[in-house]
């Protein structure tokens, strides 16, 4: 069974990565982005039931004070605002140290059941009126993904 887990910061908690990406986008000369939310994604291929995955999330993948998570569905964000989604993943064969550590962590938590693989990625929600997919493409290429080790895909959210 493959689970997709998204971890994001709760409302009103500083998203440092998102903010720093937002600044870099402005440096890039693209002024159409007003805010960036970053979301950590885990793709877990494992013989675990939902309750076990939920336990893994609560005990290992999130900081319960500042972060929230959802399994097999995207975490909350201000979807009503115009936005574009960019997801960045490691290419096949590139060491995914965080992914490897999740497997070890699950074992240490004594969660029974085989975990075949864990891949980690990052989702960026780029909010902005009139942001074009072409601009998102530039942002992905120049800031978010390094083509040598990472792939990205762009998902049009709600366009203005």
């Amino acid at each position: 069974m493959i689970y997709r887990i998204e971890v994001g910061y709760k409302k009103n908690i500083l998203d440092a990565l998102g903010e720093s990406v937002n600044k870099d986008i402005h440096d890039l000369g693209i002024k159409k982005v007003s805010k960036v939310k970053s979301v950590q994604i885990y793709k877990i291929d494992a013989d675990l039931n939902f309750a076990q995955v939920d336990e893994l999330c609560r005990k290992l993948l999130i900081d319960p004070i500042t972060q929230e998570y959802l399994v097999n569905q995207p975490v909350e964000h201000e979807a009503a605002l115009p936005h574009i989604l960019v997801e960045v993943w490691f290419k096949k064969g590139v060491t995914d140290a965080v992914g490897d550590t999740v497997i070890t962590g699950a074992r240490d938590l004594n969660i029974q059941g085989a975990i075949n693989s864990v891949h980690t990625g990052t989702k960026y929600v780029l909010y902005g009126q009139k942001l074009t997919t072409q601009q998102a493409e530039t942002i992905a290429r120049k800031l978010l993904a390094n083509a040598i080790v990472q792939d990205y895909n762009i998902n049009q959210g709600k366009l203005a």
Binding site: K23, G29, G93, V94, T95, D100, L143, N146, V149
Partner: protein, 806 residues
């Protein structure tokens, strides 16, 4: 040896020159024709062709990265003297003739292990020694800054863990050279990453690896210049602490080859040969990888535990060349047999040669006596560290590799380690005349801008500006031994000259780490760039209370393609400065590294970096409580300038503002400098100095401003009270304020210590030129007594902090 689906036999015996070169190119071996021919002769004598495993092993072991073929080769050097005539000479092994020669001639008893192990080792306390190593990881960081910098740190930490029988990493130092952060995005090729992105990625890589390993990063520097846009420089250094009884290894035949740590994968294949190849946008990507600091932390902790139980006789890290280099080094004097199919792999399907040379991270190789195997395995197993016996050291003087019971390589250790033919290269050096500021150009600047504005402009240059944004991401407190930290002062935001660490919390003994780097001087003369870097590293160290009599140096040469005569000529100049300075200061080199081929080919043009020499210094001190910081402490205290100021604006930040390099590069009078450093060391040791800061980029004005805003106090300086080695002084207050002459300090002294301080500095060039003011302004009175610069320190600090507040 027979060909199988896993091993190919490569026909080299029947090849002509073109065929040999084609084999080298096709397999990314980075071997030249002479080397290929030497290999051909070796196998002709054996009456067979090599396997791919053998060829790869030779290529890794003979790589520039591992053997320093250029600097240890033969150099036909010609240089132009001041009168324009040419001189030529042949240099046999430049390193041995310069850097290493100084150490040999100084022959200091506290140098315990130099130039032979993974790091240099010096005496520290009664029981302990310190190991220090600085490496570069430039090409991987250009392609993937986060992974490249992280694995750079990981690699140098393993050097320390693998020196002697293992040292405990206690401090990291990191120095970077990047392109300007404000480089317009559309001005650079699409095939590279923007300098700011490289900078942020590198910082994040260093942060995540160093912090997670629990090693404080306490020292560093960052230089920005357009010549680093296509080829950034990333220097990573680590200091380790080790009991003296563990400083050497002794591998015996019969010892088991134990591979410890990470699994072997296809990542990082050809790293050693890759570092000798110029980058371009098609550059092979398998050389890039991402590290896992948690694995390395576990390896480090368990290994040191096994060391303290004397369970192994040798250890080294898998760096460039992977197992091939590690086993090759440990078994150099005896021999080794390795079963490649026994190495734990990340995934199936790897070919024997890939297993053998893979540079997967976080791996160490140990030589373990068979009787200790069970006990050592117990230690690793208890902490979930993977350890596997993959072979045995032998007495055959041969390297034998097997895969599924089939022999896939047999090479003589002698040939492997000493068979590499020596390079013969040509080198040339001549002085270039650079444009000087014309009177009109300078007056235009001076006319438009007050001295205060020029000062602010220099403070805001990224190279000079506060690196707080970077420093604050690093943990510089972990392990609890940090005494002088990278940021210091009234509100902990002034720039420390050097860092001080007390690695053993039961003793007051400690060590100082500092660095010197200024590649802009090298545009004029690499000799004076190197002398200046050494002087800067030493004065930084003296500033905090380092002991010049117990100081050792490390060199890191970063140059362009040494096939170009002028590049290699610069290296010769730099190496000679290393010898002259080390001898004069009596500060031996204990380890060093060169990174050549720092060039990027873009549309047929080769873009070289500014040749760069990084000097790192380490000093042992007996009492860290005597150390001082650079921020001024108390209003009414006296400000002295130590050292002579010349009109040396060549390569300065001031001329950089005018877009010029100039010619008057700062020089060093070694004897005078050494004498001054010695007196100042003594004065600081006697507690006579309240604060001390060295004069470097931006000269007197920048040093005064930094001391003032770090201390949150004002400062007043009267130029008329100084003596200046500058002709036509009246017109040259600018030169006095911004000259970057070496061997100078600004020192704060309590009036009650005036007499004692002046006595301690007797015979030195000392001028009482100012005092600390209560009001928060920096004031400079010119030679005529008029105020020529008056700035609020808060404004100066803001200018200095703003640039890199990312």
């Amino acid at each position: 040896m027979t060909e199988t689906d896993k091993v190919s036999i490569i026909n080299i015996r029947d090849q002509g020159d073109d065929g040999l070169l084609a084999i080298s190119r096709k397999n990314l071996l980075a071997l030249n024709l002479t080397e290929m021919k030497t290999i051909q002769d070796y196998f002709r004598d054996l009456g067979r062709d090599p396997t791919d495993v053998e060829l790869e092993t030779l290529a890794q072991t003979w790589s520039e990265h591992c053997k320093h073929k250029t600097l240890r080769g033969i150099i036909e050097y010609r240089s132009q003297t001041a009168d324009g005539s040419w001189q030529s000479e042949t240099i046999d092994n430049l390193l041995k003739q310069t850097v290493m020669k100084a150490t040999a001639e100084l022959n200091l008893p506290w140098c315990l292990s130099v130039f032979k192990d993974n790091a240099g080792v010096i005496d520290f306390t009664k029981d302990n020694a310190l190991a220090f190593k600085v490496e570069t990881h430039n090409h991987p960081s250009a392609l993937e800054p986060y992974g490249g910098a992280g694995t750079g740190i990981g690699g140098v930490i393993r050097d320390i863990v693998g020196v002697g029988l293992g040292a405990k990493p206690v401090v990291n130092t990191d120095v970077f050279c990047f392109g300007p952060p404000d480089t317009p995005f559309d001005s650079i090729s699409d095939s590279i990453l923007h300098p700011k992105r490289i900078a942020k990625g590198v910082v994040a890589g260093v942060r995540d690896y160093g912090n997670r390993m629990g090693i404080p990063t306490t020292n560093g520097a960052v230089i920005f210049d357009p010549s680093f846009i296509y080829n950034p420089l990333v220097f990573c250094g680590t200091v380790g602490l080790m009991p003296k009884k563990y400083i050497s290894k002794e591998v015996l035949p019969g010892d088991l080859v134990l591979a410890v740590g990470g699994r072997t994968g296809r990542d990082g294949i050809h790293g050693a040969t890759f570092s000798s190849i110029e980058l371009d946008k098609e550059t092979e990507v398998s050389a890039v990888q991402i590290g896992n600091p948690i694995v390395e932390k576990k390896v480090t902790d368990t290994l040191l535990k096994a060391r303290d139980l004397d369970l192994y006789r040798g250890v080294t890290d898998c760096g460039a060349g992977g197992f091939s280099s590690a086993v090759g080094e440990l078994g150099e004097s005896c021999g080794a047999r390795v079963y490649l199919d026994r190495a734990p792999l990340k995934y199936q399907g790897m070919l024997p040669w890939e297993i053998w040379i893979s540079e997967s991270q976080e791996r160490m190789v140990l030589a373990v006596p068979p009787e200790n195997l069970d006990r050592i395995m117990e230690i690793f197993t208890a902490e979930n560290v993977e350890a596997t016996v993959i072979g045995q050291f032998t007495a055959t003087k041969k390297l034998e590799l097997l895969y599924n019971e089939e022999t896939v390589a047999t090479l003589d250790m002698d040939f492997l380690h000493d068979g590499v033919p020596r390079y013969v290269r040509k080198a040339m050096w001549q002085l270039h005349k650079h444009e000087e500021p014309s009177a009109s150009r300078e007056s235009r600047v001076a006319g438009q801008k007050s001295l205060g504005k020029i000062l602010k402009q220099i403070l805001s240059q990224p190279t000079v500006a506060s690196k707080e944004w970077i420093i604050r991401q690093y943990d510089h407190e972990v392990q609890g031994g940090s005494i002088i930290k990278p940021l210091t002062g009234a509100v902990n935001d002034g720039p420390s000259d050097a860092s001080v660490c007390r690695p053993d919390l039961s003793s007051w003994s400690g060590f100082v780490v500092s660095n010197g780097i200024n590649p802009r001087y090298g545009l004029i003369d690499p000799y004076w760039m190197t002398a200046s870097a050494i002087d800067e590293a030493l004065r930084n160290l003296v500033c905090v209370g380092g002991d010049i009599e117990r100081t050792a140096l490390l060199d890191n040469f970063c140059w362009g393609n040494p096939d170009k005569e002028e590049q290699l000529g610069g290296i010769v100049r730099a190496a000679r400065a290393c010898y002259d300075a080390a001898k004069a200061y009596k500060t031996p080199f204990i380890s060093g590294k060169d990174s050549l081929n720092n060039e990027y080919s873009l549309e047929g043009r080769s873009l070289s970096i500014m040749a760069t020499m990084l000097i790192s210094a380490i000093s042992v001190i007996s009492d860290v409580r005597k150390c001082i910081t650079m921020d001024i402490k108390k209003s009414g205290n006296l400000i002295y300038l130590l050292g002579d100021t010349y009109e040396e604006l060549g390569g300065s930040q001031y001329l950089a503002l005018l877009g010029l390099t100039g010619n008057g590069v700062p020089r060093v009078n070694f004897a005078k400098a050494k004498s001054l450093f010695t007196s100042l060391t003594k004065a600081i040791g006697q507690g006579l100095v309240a604060s001390c800061h060295d004069l470097s980029e931006g000269g007197l004005a920048v040093a005064a401003a930094e001391m003032a805003f770090a201390g949150n106090l004002g400062m007043e300086i009267q130029l008329a009270d100084g003596s200046w080695q500058i002709a036509d002084k009246d017109k040259n207050e600018t030169a006095i304020l911004f000259s970057e002459s070496n061997s100078r300090f600004l020192v704060e002294v309590d009036p009650k210590n005036k007499k004692a301080f002046e006595k301690a500095m007797k015979g030195q060039s000392v001028a009482l030129i100012g005092k600390v003011r209560k009001d928060k302004t920096l004031q400079v009175k010119g030679l005529g007594g008029k105020v020529i610069l008056k700035e609020n320190i808060a404004g100066l600090k803001e200018t200095w902090q703003k640039t890199l507040r990312w």
